[in-house]
Symmetry: C2
Subunit: 415 residues, 2 copies
């Protein structure tokens, strides 16, 4: 990429964002539908490009699971198109008057929801993110400035070309979707430092991507982070219910961030619950502390690292604790601030856990798997924030906006 | 500072934050009042320490205005104490249920306002920030982790000692206020990278501090940035009113971020308005474009840099524009996203300016000087955010909080 080319892309994104920010809901929805229709119509072109990426990945010896995430087919393209149509059906967050007041001096102050401007997404090998991120950014009035991985470049270019035509069809600027085609590390670093252009960066990927953002970004960002989620089975738990919740949280989809990674059991019920849990979690590798191993001998010894690890696999750490305080301490020590569940029938215990556990979502008597934009009723999500600034937990359309104060006076000056 | 000492301070701040986060409003207010009383009682001790800082600053040849900001006296200490008492009287933001819903599957989801945890402030030579930041952090349930400058170190240590005693008196952990006493650059960098301990960093200072944060911080931060604020006098302005607003915005307190730095005038009224403005702004150095200089010959030529500069002094840039579009473009190009004012009597013009200008606050027919936590009715402010994430505009107690989702189930699992 030539010197200044990235900055120029940023300027184009910023210019388009000014137009998109005040576009009508109707125009944005029209662009979403046009893009969805075009994606389906032009599927052969997208699939051809994707085939090149898949072939290259295979030739490079990329892991089959990664190749699978990269591969598109008609059903997946239909899924992307339907995602855009679904976003079109969601309410437009822009223009909501969040609050307002009249001050004693007569100034009327309104806080109005407005788009962020240019939302940048850095992501890994999933080409569907190109379309999903575009849809959410557009509906929330933002320009989408995307930087995917080299491994999905041909797919991303083909998808972006089609989506840009969808924008044009609806009379909106094509630059409301810009894809960075230079996938070098240097270009990524330059991208993350475009403070004049990028209003918010959302990295979608693993620990090395997050580290690159922390080390290099100077633009504001929201971290979509790890989920080292716990299920705490309290001494007052309904153990049958706790067992269902545990199994669901661990095994229903082990590879996602809201899956449980650790079981914490109160010692008063450990002797009864742990053997049942071990049987119900057959096929899950369990590693635990001495107390849990004394009860279930198939539990292997856990290191401190095990308790801190998001396995994203059929593996789980187990700890026995002597008290609610110890449970809360364990969860706050090893958790990543994503989702923490308690199983209890005692009101005071539930209330203390809710209050004292420091996480985006604290769940009482339900599976950790519910922390999700769809399940929370947001209609869609761009990610799940594990940081505390701006957005915490699932991020939907509203989390892709900011606010602006609009102040109405009649000549007031300050004295 | 020995290896690991900073991390240990961070751990202490985090541990204290867990206690403060669930402290009652009564306990927090008691600590604020106790701290205020102690500040006044122990003023001689604080003034002695401050005298050492002032003496050192003088010996080092520090500029008189900077020495003045550093110097404390009984009235300033009284002011700090009253600041704490005022914060005690404000409503506690913690525990507000921001919203909630019941999902079709019966899950009840509440979004509850909770403290951020550990709020870190890096600041320059004003010792009153030690007390002000402590008060706002405590009331919002956060531990305050402070890193002042070397020039105010003795003052800051004396103030922090007193405030920590106030916490202890109210039965709260003294570590809810921790001051980093190593004021080296290396320590500041280490501080900004304590991701395990710091939930939010707010830098309070000039461009070099902001740059250090952008370059080094890995903790989440909110930038309290520049204010290159404009007053746009539209062709439909009430020119008498516009003149009052302009003079107030520029001269009432030129050294603050919400003071105006640039005047933009529609060409239809420039010939009438500019000579009046130049007379009313006597004592203000004006630099402008060719069109403005053709009308008022005392206006010196402006460079592009002048239009982009926050002077914080009796200097102002002037531009004449042919249209509302050109005015909006000029403001969006040179503004820093702080506060932008329009003077107009035309409704459609006002609405377009409000909508299309990209700033934390857009003001119609009033002075830019109103963008302020007190003037907006927040009771106090920790700063004014010019970024779009988390908080935009004046930041009060609420902006020192985050939210947590609390999910209540009856055994729900995901299918």
């Amino acid at each position: 990429m030539t010197q200044g080319a990235m900055a120029e892309l940023g300027r184009r994104a910023k210019a388009a964002s000014r137009v998109i920010a005040t576009a009508s809901t109707g125009a944005k929805d029209e662009a979403l539908h046009a893009s969805a229709d075009l994606l389906v119509d032009r599927a052969p072109e997208v699939l051809d490009a994707n085939a090149k990426d898949v072939e290259k990945a295979r030739a490079d010896g990329v892991a089959p699971t990664v190749v699978d995430r990269l591969r598109l087919d008609d059903a997946r393209i239909e899924g992307m198109a339907n995602g855009l149509r679904k976003v079109a059906a969601l309410p437009d967050p822009v223009g909501e008057i969040v609050e307002g007041r009249t001050r004693p001096n007569g100034l009327v102050i309104e806080k109005v929801r407005v788009p962020l401007g240019v939302v940048a997404i850095v992501y890994e090998n999933r080409p569907n993110v190109t379309s999903d991120a575009f849809g959410l950014c557009l509906k929330s009035g933002n320009a989408a400035f995307l930087r995917g991985s080299s491994g999905a470049l041909q797919s991303n270019i083909a998808i972006a070309t089609v989506l840009r035509e969808g924008l044009t069809k609806a009379g909106l600027p094509a630059d409301a979707l810009l894809l960075v085609e230079d996938t070098s590390y240097e270009a990524a670093t330059e991208f993350m430092r475009l403070r004049d252009s990028i209003d918010c960066l959302i990295p979608r990927g693993g620990p090395s991507l997050i580290k690159a953002v922390l080390d290099n970004a100077t633009v504001p960002y929201v971290i979509d982070g790890d989920g080292n989620c716990h299920v705490y089975v309290d001494e007052h738990a309904d153990l049958d219910q706790a067992l269902d919740i545990l199994v669901n949280a661990k095994t229903q989809r082990p590879s996602v961030c809201n899956a449980a990674e650790s079981l914490v059991v109160h010692e008063a019920v450990a002797r009864e619950f742990l053997p049942r849990a071990a049987r119900a979690l057959e096929g899950v590798e369990l590693v635990g502390d001495d107390a849990s191993r004394a009860i279930v001998d198939t539990v292997a010894p856990a290191t401190d690292d095990d308790f801190a690890t998001e396995f994203l696999a059929l593996k789980m750490s187990v700890a026995v604790v002597p008290s609610l305080d110890a449970a809360i301490d364990h969860v706050n020590r090893y958790g990543t601030g994503h989702t923490e569940a308690i199983c209890t029938t005692d009101l005071h215990t539930a209330e203390r856990f809710q209050r004292e556990v420091d996480a985006a979502a604290v769940v009482v008597n339900a599976s950790t798997r519910f922390t999700d934009g769809e399940e929370f009723g947001f209609g869609a999500e761009i990610g799940i924030s594990t940081q505390k600034l701006h957005a915490r937990g699932p991020m939907g359309l509203r989390e892709l906006t900011t606010t602006k104060y609009v102040v109405h006076g009649e000549g007031q000056i300050r004295t």
